[in-house]
Symmetry: D2
């Protein structure tokens, strides 16, 4: 059996904890609910098996993966699971290395109590790369997929060197921070020909320079920002208004959430990155830009739960005005973790098929997909199935 090394950035975070715990629980016989790649129409496509995965990762915060899993899974209504798979969590814990905060802004820096020091971005990339190589050797992995699950960073200002691979590599050698952590990780992964998946709205590999690098090293990458809740609903529900020719006047969405993600978003700079990722897609879904707003607020008592209330004001025949509202009540990590496993599978599959560069066919998984303009879930999913059958 092949081995796929899965390297999680933010390895003691909620999504990582649930991903690792869930992977172990399914190995122990739990049904693979919520995995797209476990649908009947993915059978026979030749995707790697979940059993092939072995996990490690970077993390800047202390604590233990098992403790984190206990808290999160109890919040999600599964209080006994973490200890049932405690050994698997502890095994991954032993493979977590200190992460990078350089260039991540003050909220991220404040979280970091277990970080790697680096005098230049190039040095940070080199240290990350060394961790990846050691992990691969240690676990005997045939290939690596690096997945960014860390807290949302502020968006850095655009720089000319973002446009060109060589200019970027040169800039990284200088003393000033050029890239945010998510992009340093992406750079390290792609430089080594490994896959990179950005499950967050942070910059990650979304730079022409890094896309050029990926094509040069034959690496694949995908992103960004996992589509798990309110945006997922939008990307389906908007079809109703579009197909029925019912113009949307306004679409207001309000999210409240209680986990660490929410706390970081209390900082306006980090929140702006997130909201842009969530708010830009209505024009693509509808073909015009209705009045819209997306709010995200931290309500600590909710713990791992994220609740979205959306109010849609639309016009019908003769200009008559009507409304639709929905309330989405989801356990965030339970929605995200299976998609992480799906993405590792699909990315590793693309590696195995010899693809390189950005994987636009994975757009269904992301709020802000790279490599495609399609935002409608059904069309994205159909495109995924077509890609699976034959490379793009």
């Amino acid at each position: 059996m092949a081995r796929i090394g899965v390297w999680l950035i933010g390895a003691r975070g909620s999504i990582s904890a649930v991903t690792v715990a869930g992977h172990a629980a399914m190995a122990a016989g739990m049904e693979p609910l919520g995995l797209v790649t476990e649908r009947a129409d993915f059978a026979g496509a030749g995707l790697p098996a979940l059993e092939e995965f072995v996990f490690g990762g970077h993390e800047i915060q202390g604590g233990s993966l098992r403790d984190r899993a206990r808290v999160i899974l109890a919040d999600c209504g599964l209080p006994l699971l973490a200890d049932h798979v405690g050994e698997a969590l502890d095994a991954v814990e032993a493979r977590i290395r200190p992460g990078v905060v350089r260039g991540g802004g003050k909220q991220i820096a404040a979280l970091g109590d277990d970080v790697v020091e680096a005098r230049t971005d190039a040095e940070a990339v080199e240290k990350i790369r060394r961790d990846l190589d050691e992990f691969q050797a240690a676990v005997g992995a045939d290939r690596l997929v690096v997945v960014n699950l860390a807290s949302t960073e502020p968006q850095p200002p655009w720089q000319p060197c973002f446009e060109d691979a060589d200019a970027l590599l040169a800039a990284l050698a200088g003393p000033d921070p050029v890239l945010p952590p998510s992009s340093l990780y992406a750079c390290a992964a792609l430089l080594g020909g490994d896959a990179f998946v950005n499950f967050t709205p942070s910059l990650g590999s979304r730079l022409p320079a890094l896309e050029a690098l990926a094509l040069r090293t034959g690496a694949v990458h995908a992103g960004s920002d996992g589509k798990t809740g309110e945006t997922l609903v939008k990307s389906v529900l908007s079809e109703l208004f579009a197909r029925r020719n019912l113009p949307v006047l306004s679409w207001f969405g309000q999210n409240i959430l209680g986990n660490g993600d929410g706390r970081v978003l209390d900082d306006p700079a980090n929140k702006a990155t997130k909201i842009r990722s969530k708010d830009h897609l209505l024009p693509k879904l509808l073909g015009y830009a209705p009045e819209s707003r997306v709010g995200i607020d931290y309500v600590g008592s909710l713990g791992e739960w994220k609740i979205a209330w959306d109010h849609i004001h639309f016009q019908g025949f003769l200009g008559g005005r009507m409304t639709m509202q929905f309330v989405w009540n989801g356990c965030d990590s339970l929605l995200a973790a299976p998609l992480v496993l799906d993405l590792v599978r699909l990315t590793a599959f693309a590696q195995g098929r010899g693809e390189s560069g950005v994987l636009g066919a994975l757009g269904a998984f992301f709020k802000d997909p790279m490599g495609t303009d399609e935002q409608r879930l059904v069309a994205q999913d159909e495109a995924l199935l077509r890609w699976l059958a034959s490379p793009a």
Copy 2:
């Protein structure tokens, strides 16, 4: 310019009133919002123009079309419109003929204060047919489309003669009622080669015998039960759960509405017809049958508004349980009327293209489509576009 005669069954009902008023308002320059066939991707398909339509119809209740339009449109927030298009409404009023209640059950019979007497079903069909012919001659229509917009009837018990066209025609000559009114109208339309559209959950043309008749006379027909509210949402939103492999545990829907439709549904027999039409489609949308219920209750104060609350209980990763709820707040006739105009257009287009029999490609418009098993709105809409480009 060609003329298309549009014959409305339930011609003084809410949907008819709004259809006629809206048609006139658009002729006077109002934007055609809510019409599927006015979307950009329908341009150039060669559909008949709305200007070609001329209306008449059958009705069993008294009152006037203009009065009805006044009440309904005021309820919908458009209090001035009925009188702005009063002449058009009055012109159609003059072309309304008494309808048939024979075989429609006691709720329908109780409504009927302007009905045609008939000793046999065959006589009823003949009288309907005569009205259609007189209308066609009077308005100089090139073709006719008959649209059933009347109140929901109880579902009649199935009879062997429903299976065979000749057996049915023979049975109609007997003294006992065989068909409910919706099917008598369908029979009259199809016998004369005219199109029949069933916008209600009543039986209509959903009999093998009438399908055989349609093929024999070269008539087209389509149905049934316009997909305008809660079911429309279901047929889009279910994709989220299916595509993401999130098993739905239960889907509970409750509708409250205040119009005449709601009052008739207070009778359990009529309500059963409606609920079956709404409730059977989840298994087709999801591929399995979750626990489900659909309730419909009459709340008079709501007038023309229909409010649906749906509660969806689903499982995610590791069996975690989550919920989604939506509230749909729609003005029923404003949602239905543009679809009636779409259906007339598309049906007349099929007639012109020489098609006959049931038009499965129009499934997107119906809760319980004939001629197709597809219930997902996006797939239905894509099928419609393909059919438009080339006949099935």
Copy 3:
């Protein structure tokens, strides 16, 4: 320390299981949340302490109290609690005796696999009475409070003997069932001078004959139908419309629930009893009767959770129409159990103060209070505080 015997009818049901488990958990130090009598303004009133309670009860269904508590509490998000207090549950289990189904209708009879046979109602009462006496002796209780928590029964037809104590006692000696089980229990309790609390919408002690009996024996009783969810909200929220002079046009409520209570309510006869109890109070709250409906449906996947959606349509200034909706998402037994403890405390307190007959001052706890016409929660609560300070 005094001892209060608490005898639960439906002793292995959800509310009983949570009441007993919660009582033990509080004895072990858990905070007494959700108990009205633990509010600061009840301190110093001289209510009996929770430690004085000792439980037993009647039950017609098999199973074990600990198993039941495990399932219910896990549903409520407290999966470990039942075993933490397992010994207390087992101790009560040993004091459960077979119950009575005579006169309870077919749904109740179908549930009964552990029942006492009786040839007459009088014999049933006698056997119940014997169980109460044995319990009191066994646990050394100073006084007894019998609380009906059993499934809702169909409402029996009214009979002349319901009006007079002696006529009732005479009728009970005949061979035909006269009273439903809830009233047989009430009769047994009151005959012995013990307190009876009816937490269900069943008939219980709501008969002039039983009130006369209570006055004769110096017993107290209270009821009926614990106010825990939608009705609780109504009894507060209606004040807004009343105090602001905003006429309610319609108030529609829909409940979905997944526990045993819900399953029994699937029978129309049992459901009718429940709905009457929930629906009759709007006129008393508002001073006029708006259009209203209350629906209750069983949705098994919800387990112990009860979700209510209410849609309130009201008029404001100049007749303008507006709406309010609420969704109540409650764990039924967690809402009911603390009120059971409150009622035992308050009823025992009244006994101790020498009161007899119906306790109208406890109206705040009930959907359909006996002994008062007041339905508004705030006024009921104020009345309770006044009664506490000085007997009525």
Copy 4:
């Protein structure tokens, strides 16, 4: 018949337009729905009749009262009303005078196209006072009530002169702005012994210096911030949690609204004033401070409608966690206008009874009541009834 002059600050705003139009409509026979003082329990208290009111006011924006009423009332579903009472609107239009923007911040200044220039606050007060006197003389009013309905101002920093009447009057004579417009109007009213009602969250008469002035001149005043929507619900619904001893963990409220009020609130300074007024009352309602947030966002398509979604997370027995959500869908001006009429009535009544200073008994009408700490609607309403029967 006595005449009460009602002077509206923000006289061409939404609430003013609806107040004047509604007053005229009721004079023409429309039912007085939504007026607290029209409840049965206010009959016989000797309140002034609505017919005694005659309106005028200050305004900084152009346009006409009739046009404004047309737009607002059409939004509220009453499109014909403005013209039915057009003469009354035009009569008041003729009595509108240019207003003051001095000290109101940049949002308010930007709105002002019809303003009075003043070199000092004292001069502004004097000019306002002159307008009031001219109005009273012109309409022959026995007494005046000034009601502030203008847009929310930023809260000014606190100054020592706010504490003392003479110090304040001295400071007003200086060149720098000391008071915001709402307080300049309050000062002018109270100086002349007229009543002042602050229906907005702006500072108004909420200064010890102005309270002292009111006592000195024998004027009455009341405020602040009309309680019309989400806060109104909170002040009733919180009783449920308090009376049932169910601790609220978090209470999140989100408001979206489309009228001018909403546009001004898009400025963070103005929004802060509003949110403080809405958010501070939970601790007073519950007796402790749960986690809470209140959001207000402008969604233009909603016009005059304000929609609030509140999510309440609470604990029950054994710490079990449950939720309640509500959606309030109200037409803002229709909710506010009748309260303005109530307040004029009650304030004029207090004047007539010889009261002076702040009227704490009117707390039921305000989000942030002056002269009382009571925030619960029921208790406030009971206090109002007691005050009506006998002066405080």
